[in-house]
Each structure stands twice: as structure tokens, then as C-alpha cells.
Symmetry: C2
Subunit: 402 residues, 2 copies
DNA sequence: CTGATTTAATTTGATTTTCAAATTAAAACT
DNA sequence: AGTTTTAATTTGAAAATCAAATTAAATCAG
């Protein structure tokens, strides 16, 4: 409607079909406010293009009158991959256009930090390995979403800096598109979790919510008005580095008082080392094992361990309360897989949030814990790719018709 | 384009004309991506409706070819009032449709907290007093924007709670519309400052920015994607109650560690009372005088006073840094009139922010201090009314044409 | 089993919105 | 006075949409 007459209707209807999956035309008209006549015309076009298909109306048993015919996204229309570039591995997922997971794959990286070309090469290998058993090739993909830690300029596909890349200011999108011959969509990994929640998780119903992830650091994704909010320099949502104490504990980032410096593994271990330094566990044990031992000890009533863990939880609650006080979201999702974060997901922590937010008549936002597997990130990447591919498909439709 | 065919184009073009004030049709086409033909048609319509007018093209001296004809909003099209309900007074401003200030007025309230009817009555009186000298009546207004402290549901015009109202859960919009016979637009006062900055101030060029105000409390307005972000329960942006210290200083709100409990007047005085309790200034002096004395003393090198003020500044910087870490805005505007906030607006504070935000290659967001007069709030209210009236005008256009 | 009823979807014919290309307008150069 | 240049408008067509009428596919009632 703006600019060259572009098919805003197509876009809206396709999105509505996706979100309300099996939905009859009459309900689409109701929902979007677009007339039934137009819904018929446009959906016919979408069906003709293969993006949408009819399914036998089900559910409401035998109502009177002409039965409604449900529409849904046609999964076979496109194939996308989602790839998360993690510390020392890649995790991949394959999805159809409907969002059904068709395959998953995991790939160990030769090194933690790689050059661009090497990384892209490993990426291509991993993709091939995932696709081969299905008799598919990379060229069958309509798009690939890539999640990477660091500072990413989404518009340009530029990775300013990432722990996984030895180069700086690399246009990872171009590099991947050149190597794979497939449209690539690159984003910061925290945003991808938010996207995963938006499309597949607890954020499906919400328009404004926040996703917090705990891995080695603390990440955050912000969804405002159904869209990822990325900040203006691509470095927003640095929840882990919000300050919770003036001149507080030293953080990996070099600053003091960051939330991360109170809740991250290294923070807990740093504290534990003061009193438990002579522990058997301290020698030769991995960080993970030591954390586990600390948490166990806290659970068993060790006062010092308990104190360490308690403070972490209280700081975490304070940080989350600040988010609520600033954003007033509908929902906060604590997404993660690690049982090691149990202490941060405890009842007391959630309750602590409620005590630190501004009190109004209305109930506080829901805080929910969502335990995903490792694939969460990759699924988010796939969701991102689906978004991009959908956009391209609608665009193609417009061009094709003209 | 969605729903009944509504004139999205009209809306877009009117907004573009407003934002780029004197602008030729060809530039409008360029900017909005709408074809020149459509720009001609739509602007003709807007001119016919009296919302827009042509002005002799100026600026570019005598270029070759047919000279461009600039368009601008026609001020005379509508008249709006902006009203800020403050502690013990109303401040009002009168604006034309172009945003030119035509009059201002100030009105003392009989009491700090009033019943709805009494407040509305005083409001009508004040409005009348402002309009009378101009030979205008309230019925000449196309809308009135009202800013009030407290929890406001903008959608419904409901004031859940406000220090200025003795009643709770009042539909202030209905009450005012009934009394004045003019469309009313009610919002939280912090949001209005953001709107004032967006339309008349430093936020004109920015799409994502934050406005922080210091009065008796600390307020914040958030602009995301050119729109006020209000949170989902109407209680977001409570910057003053973000926690900056676990189990910290007691706040008026009853919680501990709120930023306000470190930077507000009462917080400074609380600290000062510990050591300066026997001061001449402490007896019989007003709070304002005592604050002034404290700041003066800090400035003169008194170590205790200096320490009190220093901490307030550092806490303030920390709070702002957290906003940057979360939002990554283009711009932070510190808006206020009070010289008493000088210590919070000091160089050191601004520098302190930069030391607490996540470091990236790109420069940190600008932090600017904008000293407005008392009218800032009322102007914001007027800006809000203008937004509403513009919306109504476009809507009327659509209905009228059909 | 047949026709009435009900509801969903489509078709019809018109209207609105928009655009590209051609045309006109208004100025400065030559 | 004619040429050039640029802005704005007009023209004719295409695209998008809608309200109302029609058709389709089912159940219900007798």
C-alpha cells in the first residue's frame, strides 16, 4: 500500500495463517478485518503458489451448514536450517516451512575460535552431514539462520566481534551465502532464544516479553510489539552486565558490580575458593563438577555454601525486578537447560522478584521457567530463517504476479 | 489497506509533512516511497481539507526548472490545549495544529489532592482563563491533552491512582470530555515529557531514546520505534524504583535500594540530617533551602556534604548505565528545569555512565541535558493532543470522502 | 428422500488506491 | 524567442479491496 503497490494483504494473511495454524477463511476474515471476498482471492493465490494448503476441517463436529475448510502453512513449500555456533560445537536443526523439525545434528568444532573461512567450511560440512541421510542437499534449502555470540549488526549481517571468530568486523552473511549459495540470516544468539520462544515456546501468545538465558553468561532477548528489539548499536539487552552493586564484584568484562559477577559459574567458584579451597573437589575437578558440589553442599545445609548461593539468587531476582520495573512485560521466560541453574530458578528467587517490583493493583508479570534442550538455540535460528524465507516468498509472489 | 480500505497513504503523508515541515511534493515522494502521482492526489485532498497548506518555496536560491512548492501543516486547522496536573498547580499551554505555542497559563489548585469533579472544574476554569484573552472558547478546541502523575491506562483514559486525585480508578478522560465537550487524551506525565522531546525537543531526529526527568521523584519515558512504550500494565519505566543496592536505603515506596532512595531530595536530606542536624539551616528552613545549602556546602569542599552528593551522582550514573545496557538507545535526554539537580547532571556523572556500559567499537549513546521550563510537561500534553487530533482528522477525511 | 435451513466460500460488479508514463507548468539559461 | 531543466499534474491502466449476490455443502424436518 505504501510505495509501489505491495501486497500487504498477502503478508498479513500468511502471517495470520501461520499463527493460528489450522484456520478457516471466515475466521481469517474475522481476525484480520479483511473482507471475506479478499480472503478468498488472496488465499487462492497463496495456495496456487504452494505456500498454503487446505486441510479437511476438523474439530467442531458436524456443525450445520457448509463445513469450513481449514488452511495451514504448507510445510513442503520450503526447507530451512537453523545453526547455533556454540563454544566448541555447532548444533543444527532442519525444519520445513511449517516449523516441523525434520532433523537435528551436532558437530564438534576443531577449535573454539576459528577464522571466517574455516568456520564457514565446518558449517557447510555439518549441514551436509545433517542433510545427507535425508537425501537432501544444501541447495534444497531456502534459507539458513545462524546464531552466534557477540556483537552482530543484523541489517548488514556483520559480526563486529564474536568469541567464535578470530576475525573482527566480518560480514558473516555474505561469507555464508557465498559458500552455501543459500540466503543466510545471522543474529546474536540471545535474540534467537527469544525468537524460539516467540514461535515455538511460551511467547506465542505474548506481544511483549523478555527471555533470559543462563549459560556461561547471562543473556537476554527482548520482544516488543511482537518483534525483537535489538537496540540501536546491536549491543542492547546486556542483562548480564547491568550493575547490581556500586563498585561491586569484578566481572570478566573488567567492570565492577555486573550481575554476571554474582551469578555466573566463575563468580560462585570465586567465592567458594575462599573457604573451600582445600576441598578434594577443588583439585583436578572440572568447573562443572565443582559447581555441582557447591550447590549440593548448599542444599545439604552448609552455611557458607548456602550463603554464596543465596546471594546469587537474590542478586538475580533484583536484576529481574529491574527489568520488570523498566519494561513492564507481560511475561518473563527463564530459558535454559542446565540443571546447574536450579538455584536461580528457585521459588525464593521468583518470589524475590515480586517483592522488588513496583506494586500496582494489577498482578505482576508471569515469570516462567522453560527448560529447553540444547537445540533451543538452533530452533531459534531456524525460526529466524523461516521469517526471512516467508518474507522472500511473499515478495516473490508480488514480483511474479506483476 | 487492511480491513476496510483505509487511507494509509493520507496518514503517512501527513506525518511526513509534519516531521519535515516545509517539504516539496517531490521530496515527499522520495521519502515515503509513494509515487509522485499519488502524492499530488493525496496532498490535494489534505489541502482541500484544510490540514495542509502551500508555502512559497524558499531556501534553495533560484534553481533551474519549475520551482518546488513547499507544503506544511496548516496551523489554523486546529487548536489544542496541553495541561499538566502538578502537585499544587496546573500549567497549561495552547497550540495550533502546527505546534506553535499561542498562549500559556498557570493556575494554582485549591488543594494538592482533589476529587474528580473538583479537579475537572478547576481545569475548566484554568482553560477558560487561558483562552479568554485570545477571544477563544473551550469549544474552539479540537482536543486537550492531560498529563497526570500516577498509574494511567491510556487506552481507556483510566487513572488507576494518582497523587492528585482522591478517587481511585477514575475514567478521567470521560470526566473531562463530559465537562469540556472536547476530546481528551490522558497520559502519565513522564510519557508526556518523552512526547515533548520527540516533537519539539532533542528527540526529533531519534527513533529510540529515553527521557529521564527529575522532580520530586525520578521518572522515565521510553520511545521505541518512534512510539512511546508504555509497558503492558501501564506501570513500566519506573526508573526511580529500579534497585541499585541489595537491601539498600529505604524508599518512600516501602522497598529498599530504589534509585530514588539515593538521589531524591528526601534521600539527600536524610543523609544530611545525620551530621548536619544541628545546622541553622535545619531549623525552620524549607526542604528546598536545605538541599540548596547542602549542595553549596558540597561545592565549597565540605567532605561530608561532598560525600553525600557524590554517592547520589554515582548511583544515578549506575542506574542510567543499566538503562543503556538494557536498551542501547540512540540518546538519553536528561530533562528538567531544576538547578537543584545540577549535581546529577555533572560531568562526572555523565562520564560515570560511560564507564559502566558494555564497551563496543561504536561510540556510546549521547547523553544530553535539556533544561526546559515548567511548561515542558504541558507542551508534552499538547503534543499528545496533537497526535490524537491528527488521527481524528485523517479518520474524518476518510469517512467524509466515502 | 426432498426441500428448507444454515453456514462457508466464491463470484460479481463496482470502488478505491495506486502507479508509470505522458503532459503541462514554471522557472532559468542561451 | 526558443531551449533546457525540474516540479507538479493529468491520464489511462492496473491492483487491491469490498459489499452484495450467488453458489456450495452440509444438517434438519417431515
Amino acid at each position: 500500500m505504501i510505495g509501489q503497490q505491495r501486497s500487504y494483504g498477502r503478508r498479513v494473511l500468511l502471517a495470520a495463517i501461520r499463527q493460528n495454524s489450522p484456520i478457516a477463511r471466515i475466521d481469517l476474515s474475522e481476525q484480520t478485518g479483511i473482507s471475506r471476498a479478499t480472503v478468498t482471492t488472496v488465499t487462492a493465490e497463496l495456495i496456487r503458489a504452494g505456500l498454503v494448503e487446505e486441510v479437511a476441517a476438523q474439530g467442531t463436529e458436524m456443525a450445520r451448514g457448509r463445513p469450513r475448510v481449514d488452511l495451514k502453512i504448507r510445510g513442503a513449500a520450503h526447507l530451512v536450517a537453523g545453526i547455533k555456533i556454540a563454544n566448541s560445537s555447532l548444533s543444527l536443526v532442519l525444519m520445513d516451512f511449517e516449523g516441523n523439525q525434520l532433523a537435528e545434528h551436532s558437530h564438534l568444532l576443531s577449535r573454539t575460535t576459528l577464522g571466517t573461512d574455516a568456520l564457514v567450511a565446518e558449517l557447510a560440512t555439518a549441514l551436509g552431514d545433517m542433510l545427507a541421510p535425508l537425501g537432501k542437499a544444501i541447495s534444497d534449502l531456502s534459507g539458513a539462520g545462524i546464531g552466534i555470540a557477540g556483537i552482530v549488526d543484523v541489517q548488514q549481517g556483520l559480526v563486529h566481534w564474536s568469541p567464535s571468530l578470530s576475525d573482527r568486523n566480518i560480514n558473516l552473511r555474505s561469507a555464508i551465502e557465498a559458500a552455501l549459495g543459500v540466503p543466510a540470516f545471522v543474529d546474536n544468539d540471545a535474540n534467537l532464544v527469544a525468537m524460539a520462544e516467540k514461535r515455538f515456546g511460551l511467547g506465542r501468545e505474548a506481544t511483549d516479553f523478555i527471555v533470559v538465558t543462563i549459560e556461561s553468561g547471562v543473556g537476554m532477548g527482548i520482544v516488543i510489539n511482537n518483534e525483537i528489539y535489538r537496540g540501536t548499536r546491536g549491543c542492547g539487552a546486556e542483562f548480564g552486565h547491568t550493575k547490581v552493586h556500586l563498585d561491586g564484584a569484578l566481572c570478566r568484562c573488567g567492570q565492577r558490580g555486573c550481575l554476571e559477577a554474582y551469578v555466573a559459574d566463575y563468580a560462585l567458584l570465586r567465592e567458594a575458593s575462599v573457604t573451600h579451597s582445600t576441598d578434594a573437589l577443588a583439585e583436578g575437578a572440572s568447573d562443572e563438577q565443582r559447581i555441582e558440589a557447591l550447590l549440593q553442599r548448599a542444599h545439604d545445609g552448609d552455611p557458607v555454601a548456602g550463603n554464596i548461593v543465596l546471594r546469587a539468587g537474590r542478586m538475580f531476582a533484583m536484576g529481574l525486578a529491574n527489568i520488570v520495573n523498566i519494561f513492564d512485560p507481560q511475561l518473563i521466560v527463564l530459558a535454559g537447560e542446565r540443571m546447574q541453574s536450579n538455584h536461580l530458578y528457585a521459588e525464593e528467587v521468583i518470589a524475590g522478584i515480586k517483592n522488588s517490583i513496583v506494586q500496582v493493583d494489577q498482578p505482576p508479570p508471569e515469570v516462567v521457567i522453560h527448560r529447553w534442550g540444547d537445540l533451543m538455540w538452533a530452533k531459534g535460528a531456524a525460526a529466524y530463517a523461516l521469517e526471512g524465507v516467508e518474507e522472500m516468498a511473499v515478495e516473490a509472489l508480488r514480483a511474479g504476479e506483476g
